[in-house]
Structure formats: structure tokens, C-alpha cells
């Protein structure tokens, strides 16, 4: 009633009369304020939400927490009953108000500012409590007027669970829709003296759906409030470039703010607000930082030589060197350089792939190749074969000195190059846990810088061997060749076996028992091939040929098994997905309807921001889950990310050309055709709206 009076007065352009006794609203002809409550009573010991409602005359506006270039946000000085305490205002996202060359961030017409209030536990049910305080605010049209008024709200103390307040609850529910929710996407920024460029990693958005994007900084200083914010939406997400603000140093810390995305929906648009903390991204690194990263990478590369997957490869290579210590210095040098080239080129290949994939928007890190069960399986085979060679199960090329000599003494420098490549490949699984910092830096850098860091890592790996070959004097420190070399080789097989065991464990996480079984079967084939290879060497020519063919067949067989490991379903995620959101199909819907089950159909797409927000604020809430469970509602998820034709048709049948679409099919009534039509829920959901709809079925 009182609000009605306010509105009538405002509509008539009359000055508001002084507050009558008992009227809840106070204020001025420009702004009237009142406190509203979400619940109709206070529950002892609980937090409840109230709201400061400002009704603002046309043309005037009040301010957001960051008022922009001028202005001041509203405040309340509370005088609360003993034991009560009020939290900070939860600020609904503002709108832009341009005033000449300046920009204000604020509210017009009406805004409800939600405030949490904590009630003490020792309240007596039936008593009445009055929350009062003094609200102050600045209201501007062209001129600005600071105003203040007493506000108060009286509520009864509830014995049980309080219900929603008939007028307050819908007002606060509406305010909540304008409250920013935590951003589902990480954000970063880069800064130059002229501009700040924000990147919100919202990948896979549909540019055509985004009508507008605006970043409201939480504080003055980092960006120019009034500057245009041209936004680009592509595979990487949303990029906004805006003129830099005046505060020096504002871009050396994270920039907080709210990003408001206006998404085009069927027959309208939805504004979605997210709180964002943009972290300073690496701009072109300073030369000092680059030098530091290169030195760290070099040291890390050296350390890699000691990793269990690399040490055997390297040791064997070094053993070859011991064997040939007396050889020509020039040939030695060339071997060293060939080995280094093998390492560096392999690192460049892996790093180049990584950087290219990242530039294309893939969310991958170093060690990404180990996310493929196929690669893991093949690496396990490789390590196993190397270990078998070290154990002496088979010998490549050489006669007595073992595989090490074979690799090192292979005619030409191809063998050395190959060893370098092998060391690099073997090193990659070990780099991930140890090289995180340097690699983390490298992937954030421009191409050339990133590659430089990776190559420093590779050079570190190659360095011990390279130096031994380049500086003949150092070779004096090598022990004399002897029988110990064979024992060492045999011993070095075990770190490789351990690496195989680790890779199989990794595979068990990725591909489940089937994947492990396939990989172990492949390992058996590799073992058989190794034995056969060695056994047939000493046989007649015919047998040796037959043996080699069999070995080749076994290896091909093992490799062919690899993809099988990859296709075995990973058990855990499949289980989780099946739990709640069953995939939609018209048949499944008809089936469930025939069984008499109520069904909720969620037509959504990965690139639909409103869908995402609805799922977060409403569909995945505990209260909604409880309501669904209580009524036995089955949720079917129709994923339109790839524009499935069947779903397009269904959208069309509801007069829609896009998502989101939410349908709630009631329990089919026996006797009536299962064609009873579903309730179509609004495109912007709230928890309450979903629960209300569910309660009606």
C-alpha cells in the first residue's frame, strides 16, 4: 500500500509528502527508500536477507559500489537490536550513465540492494524486532544531492521456519537475478601505458549471441570508466580492450570487477553478470625475467639427466663413450652435436605442438601428450623394450658390449641423433612434475620466447654428454671400461621397468581395467618379440628371416592393441554423467511418460551463457534437486551444442529457434493421451520458479 502511494506520487510528479506515521518509506521527491525483507519473520540464530529499496525519480540515478568518475555509493548506518549484525550490501550489477565526458555506474528507476542480517540465537518466538538505521545516498540528475533518511523494518520472531514475505520476497528475488555470480571462466589482463586488454577465457561462445559486453571495475584507477570497450569474441573467449586509467601501478595487481554479458535469446535478451578477478597476464617478459627462466630451464634440463626415465638412456650413451674414449676427437664431437641436435629438435617439436594447440584454444599443459592413452601405452612399450635390451634379453647390432654400445657405436651420426630424440621423448613424462615453473612461464610467452625456454631445457638435458664429447680432457674422469659396465647396464634396466609400471598406473586412471589389460597384453607381445629376435639371431639364415618377420608381426600386433586401450571407456566420468542428467531423446521421453514419470527437459548448449547461469543458480541447487526427487522428476538433458537436428525440431515445435528451453512434463494422467502439454518455464530461471513449477505437478 505504502509503495503504491510512493509510486502514485512519483508518477504524478508530486513532491513526496513527509512520511506518515507507520509508513515504511521515507526519502525525498527524488528517491524514496524502504527496507524490505525476504522472509516474513526472523528465525533465531539464522541469517536472513533484507533489502534497501530505492525508488528513483525519472532522470535521476544513485550509485554502484564503484560510482565511476564521480558520485558516491549508498550507505546504511545501522542501529540494530542487541545481538543482530548486518553484513555488506550485495551489489546488483549497475548500468552505465554517461554524464558529459564522464561515466557514472549506478541505478535508475528502482533498485533493491540486498543485505544479509544475522539474528541472535536467543530470540523469543512471538516477539517483534525492529531493524533501524540511517540510509544515506547521493542522487544525481545533472546536479547531485546528498540525501539521507531513517529506515526501519519490524518483523516477528518465528517459532519455526519463516515463510517468504509476500511483497519483499519477490523484490529480493528480482534483485538476486542482477547479482553477479562468480565467473565460471578465468580472466586475465595485459596492460600497456595506453590500454588494458582483458581476456575472459569463455571458450566456445557463439559471437552472434552476444549483444554486448561491459566490464565494470570494482575500483577506480585501472581503466578509464568512460572509454569505449570494444569486445571481440572468438575461440579464446572474450577480449576487451579499454583505455588505461590514471592510477599508476593499478595494473600490477589483479583487477576485480563485474563483467556483464548481454546474451540474445529467443524474443529478448538476458543480462548475465559475473564477478571477475583478472590476473596480470604475462606481457612480453622483461629481459631479466626471461634470463631467469632460461637459466632455470637450463638447470632443470641438467636435473632431468637424473630422472628414472632418462638416466638409463643417458648412462648407456655415456657407457658407449667410455668404450670409445680412445676414438677420434672429431668423430666424438660430431656424435655429441648430433645427439644435442636430436634432443633440441625433439623438444622443439613437442613445444611447437604445445604452443600451437594452446594458441588454438586448447586447455592443455606440458605433458599433454600423456593425456592420450595411446601415447601412454606406446611409451610403456618403448620403455619396456629398452629395459629388456639393458637386461640382455636382446642385443641390437653389437656383439658383446650390449645395447649401449650398439646405440652409441652405430655407424654414422644417425644413432646419436636418435639417442638424443629418445632421451627427449623419455624425458617428457618426467618433466611435468619437475619443470612446472619454467614450462608454465614458457607457455605464457610469445612464440619465440616460449621456444627459447624449451630449448634451454633441452640444452640442459643434452649438456653433460655434449661437454664430454666437446672437451676431451673431461673424458679422463670417466672410469675405465670393464666388466662393471655390463652389471651397470643390467641395473639400469630397473628404473625403466619402474617407469613402465608407472605408465601402466597412469593408463589405469585413463582407460580402466580394459586399457590396462590391453597394454599388459601388448607388453607380453613385446617381450616375446624381444626373445624371438635374440633367439633367431644365432639360427640359420632362413630361421633368422622367419624370426624377424615374426618379431615384426608381434610388434605390429602390440602397437595395434594400443588404440584399443584408448577406446576403452573411462569408468568414473561415465558413471557420474549418468547419475543425474540423462541424455534426451524423443524415445526416452516417450518411454518415461508412458511409465507415468514426470520429466524435466533441459535444452541447453555449451556456448549458452544463460543456460550456464540457470544451471548454476537454479537447476543444480540442493533445493531444486530435493524438489525433483520428491516428485520423482526425471531430468533429461538435450545438448544442442552441435545443433542436433532432432533437438532443433523440438525447439521449433515450441516456437523457439534457440536455447535455453525448459520443459516440465507432468505425470501423464492414465486414460488421457500422453500428449498433455508440458509447462514451459521462463528462459531465466530462479530456484524459486523451478520449485514452484515442480510443486504444481
Amino acid at each position: 500500500m505504502s509503495r503504491l502511494v510512493t509510486m502514485v506520487l512519483l508518477a504524478a510528479g508530486l513532491a513526496a509528502a513527509p512520511a506518515e506515521a507507520g509508513a515504511a518509506w521515507t526519502g525525498s521527491p527524488r528517491v524514496t527508500v524502504e527496507l524490505v525483507s525476504e522472509s516474513d519473520a526472523v528465525a533465531p540464530g539464522k541469517t536472513f536477507w533484507i533489502g534497501l529499496r530505492q525508488t528513483i525519480a525519472p532522470g535521476w540515478h544513485t550509485y554502484w559500489i564503484n560510482p565511476g568518475d564521480s558520485g558516491e555509493p549508498p550507505q546504511i548506518e545501522w542501529a540494530l537490536p542487541a545481538g543482530f549484525s548486518a553484513g555488506d550490501i550485495a551489489w546488483p550489477h549497475p548500468e552505465r550513465i554517461r554524464v558529459g565526458p564522464a561515466m557514472s555506474y549506478g541505478y535508475s528507476n528502482e533498485v533493491v540492494l540486498p543485505i544479509p542480517v544475522m539474528a541472535p540465537a536467543d530470540l523469543v518466538p512471538g516477539a517483534r524486532v525492529t531493524l533501524s538505521g540511517r540510509a544515506s545516498w547521493l542522487v544525481c540528475e545533472k546536479e547531485c544531492i546528498p540525501e539521507e533518511a531513517p529506515v526501519s523494518l519490524t518483523l516477528a520472531v518465528a517459532a519455526g521456519e519463516p515463510g517468504p514475505h509476500p511483497t519483499g520476497a519477490p523484490l529480493i528475488a528480482r534483485a538476486r537475478q542482477a547479482l553477479p555470480s562468480p565467473s565460471p571462466w578465468p580472466a586475465s589482463f595485459t596492460a600497456t601505458p595506453e590500454a588494458v586488454t582483458f581476456t575472459v577465457a569463455a571458450r566456445g561462445l557463439a559471437p552472434g549471441r552476444i549483444a554486448e559486453v561491459w566490464f565494470y571495475p570494482a575500483r577506480w584507477g585501472a581503466i578509464d570508466h568512460a572509454a569505449p570497450q570494444p569486445a571481440r569474441i572468438d575461440a579464446r573467449g572474450i577480449t576487451i580492450e579499454v583505455a588505461r586509467g590514471q592510477l599508476p601501478g593499478a595494473t600490477s595487481a589483479p583487477i576485480d570487477g563485474v563483467i556483464v554479458i548481454t546474451e540474445r535469446l529467443d524474443g529478448g535478451a538476458a543480462r548475465q553478470a559475473f564477478t571477475v578477478r583478472a590476473t596480470p597476464g604475462a606481457t612480453a617478459a622483461s629481459s631479466a625475467a626471461l634470463l631467469q627462466a632460461v637459466v632455470l630451464a637450463l638447470a632443470g634440463g641438467l636435473l632431468l639427466n637424473l630422472m628414472p626415465c632418462v638416466l638409463p638412456v643417458l648412462s648407456v650413451k655415456a657407457l658407449g663413450l667410455v668404450q670409445h674414449a680412445a676414438g677420434s676427437a672429431a668423430a666424438m664431437r660430431r656424435h655429441g652435436l648430433a645427439y644435442t641436435a636430436g634432443v633440441l629438435l625433439s623438444f622443439a617439436a613437442v613445444a611447437g605442438t604445445l604452443l600451437a594447440l594452446r594458441a588454438g584454444g586448447e586447455q592443455i599443459g606440458w605433458g599433454f601428450q600423456l593425456q592420450s592413452p595411446l601415447v601412454v601405452t606406446l611409451l610403456a612399450y618403448l620403455f619396456f623394450a629398452m629395459a629388456l635390451a639393458l637386461s640382455g634379453v636382446f642385443v641390437i647390432g653389437g656383439r658383446l658390449a650390449g645395447a649401449g654400445q650398439a646405440l652409441a657405436a652405430r655407424p654414422g651420426y644417425g644413432g646419436s641423433f636418435f639417442t638424443g630424440a629418445l632421451a627427449a621423448v623419455a624425458a617428457t613424462p618426467c618433466t611435468a612434475p619437475f619443470m612446472g615453473a619454467a614450462v608454465g612461464f614458457a607457455v605464457t610467452q610469445p612464440w619465440a620466447t616460449g621456444l627459447l625456454v624449451f630449448e634451454a631445457l633441452g640444452l640442459g638435458l643434452a649438456l653433460p654428454y655434449l661437454l664430454l664429447t666437446l672437451i676431451p680432457a673431461w673424458r679422463r674422469f670417466l672410469p675405465r671400461p670393464g666388466a662393471w659396465m655390463k652389471r651397470l647396464e643390467e641395473l639400469l634396466a630397473f628404473p625403466l621397468y619402474a617407469s613402465v609400471a608407472w605408465l601402466v598406473w597412469v593408463l589405469s586412471q585413463q582407460a580402466g581395467p580394459t586399457g590396462v589389460a590391453v597394454a599388459l597384453g601388448g607388453l607380453v607381445l613385446i617381450g616375446l618379440a624381444a626373445w624371438l629376435f635374440q633367439a633367431s639371431r644365432d639360427a640359420s639364415v632362413t630361421w633368422r628371416r622367419a624370426g624377424l618377420i615374426a618379431v615384426a608381426a608381434l610388434v605390429v600386433g602390440a602397437v595395434a592393441l594400443g588404440p584399443l586401450a584408448g577406446t576403452a571407456p573411462a569408468p568414473a566420468p561415465a558413471q557420474a554423467a549418468g547419475g543425474r542428467d540423462e541424455a534426451f531423446s524423443p524415445r526416452r521421453l516417450a518411454e518415461l511418460r508412458a511409465q507415468g514419470r514426470p520429466v524435466f527437459v533441459n535444452v541447453t548448449a555449451a556456448w549458452c551463457i544463460t543456460c550456464l547461469v540457470n544451471e548454476r543458480v537454479a537447476l543444480r541447487s540442493a533445493a531444486v534437486a530435493e524438489a525433483f526427487a520428491r516428485k520423482g522428476v526425471v531430468v533429461l538433458k538435450a545438448d544442442w551444442t552441435n545443433r542436433d537436428a532432432g533437438i532443433t525440431e523440438m525447439l521449433g515445435s515450441f516456437g523457439r529457434s534457440g536455447v535455453p528451453l525448459y520443459l516440465l512434463y507432468p505425470r501423464a494422467v492414465p486414460g488421457r493421451a500422453a500428449g498433455s502439454s508440458p509447462a514451459v518455464l521462463p528462459q531465466i530461471l530462479s530456484e524459486g520458479a523451478v520449485i514452484d513449477a515442480v510443486n504444481k505437478i
Partner: protein, 215 residues
Amino acid sequence: MSEPSLSRRAFLAATGLAAFAGPSLARSGVAWAAAAAKVGAAAPAFSSVATTGKTVSLADYAGKVVVLEWTNHECPYVKKHYETSNMQAIQKEATGQGVIWLTIISSAPNEQGYVSAGQADELTKTRGAVPTAVLFDPTGVVGKMYGATNTPHMYVIDKAGVLQYAGAIDDKPNTRKSDVPGAQNYVRAALASVAAGQPVKTPVTRAYGCTVKYA
């Protein structure tokens, strides 16, 4: 395999890189404020007509410390500092030490705060203000050059003509007069640093007040 926090950081940074390395957007969006006077750089030269009818130039005061004060006598934030005599007190202190104090009115004709020369002088007299001169900027050229968005909006220029401070008068961005005594006055602090030949500790702050009533 790698620490989640680490890969997350790398990821965040990488998205920043993507933005940096990607084709840059048109830089047409640089607003006037960014092109305005910059703290640490030479204060832009200007000339304006004073209430005396004479044209006053910043160059006239070469070798002296200059304070610029944007004002609008009807703005509640300006009133806060004049009705508590806070503004007059700093003016007295400053001009007493040979500082040039230029009060600038950028309100356009028919906008709030626009006054005639006579009215302006009357305001100075009745309020007990002691600026060196009160200047008119009805076209807003000077105000926009300095990026003045608020009244009051304060600037301090050192003897070498370098802008050393831009922003609020103090750290209490409200209209409560009771906050004046406890406030940290940025202008007073900047003047002290400039006089001592030291760098200003807080050289840029968010100005608070009413918007400047530009045309």
C-alpha cells in the same frame, strides 16, 4: 601430474598472452581522459579569462608552484569544504608560502555553478576565500585537457611546471562535514612534498564530488 595451482596459473597467464599476441583491436577507443594531463609530465599550457577580465596563462607563473582547483559553488561536495573553511584554510597556507592558487569554473552557461565575474568575486569575498585568481572555462577546454571530472578536483604543479598531483582534496569521499577534521588532505601533503623537493607520496587519487557541468 603437475600441481593444479601451477597449471592454473600457467593457463591464466597463457590466456593473457593470447590477448597480447593476438591482433590488437583498433585503438580508436582512447578517451579524452587518457589524452589529458598526466602526473609526472609537464602540465599542459592554458589561458583563461579571470574575474578581473584579464587573461591569465599558466606560463605567467613559470617558476612557481601552482594549485588548480575545479569548483562549482552549488555542489554539495564543494560546499562541504567551503562551509567548513577547509578549502580557505589550505588556500591561505598555500598562498602565504608563495603558491599560486587558481580556482577554475568549467560550468557551461545555464549549468549549475556558472556565475558572472561579479558573482564569482562576491563568492570569494563572502566565503573568505583567497585564491590568486578565479578563472572561467565555459567551453570546458581547460577542464577536459586536465581530465577534470569532479568538483572539487585538485591539481598541484611544481616549480618546473611538472604536474605532481591530481585527484581528490582528501580521503573522505562524502559530504559529511564532520569528516573534514580527521581527513588526510592530499593537497596539503602534495604541497609539502613539492616544497621540500621530494616526490609526492600519493600522486594520483580518485577525485570525488559532483560531475563538472560541462556544456
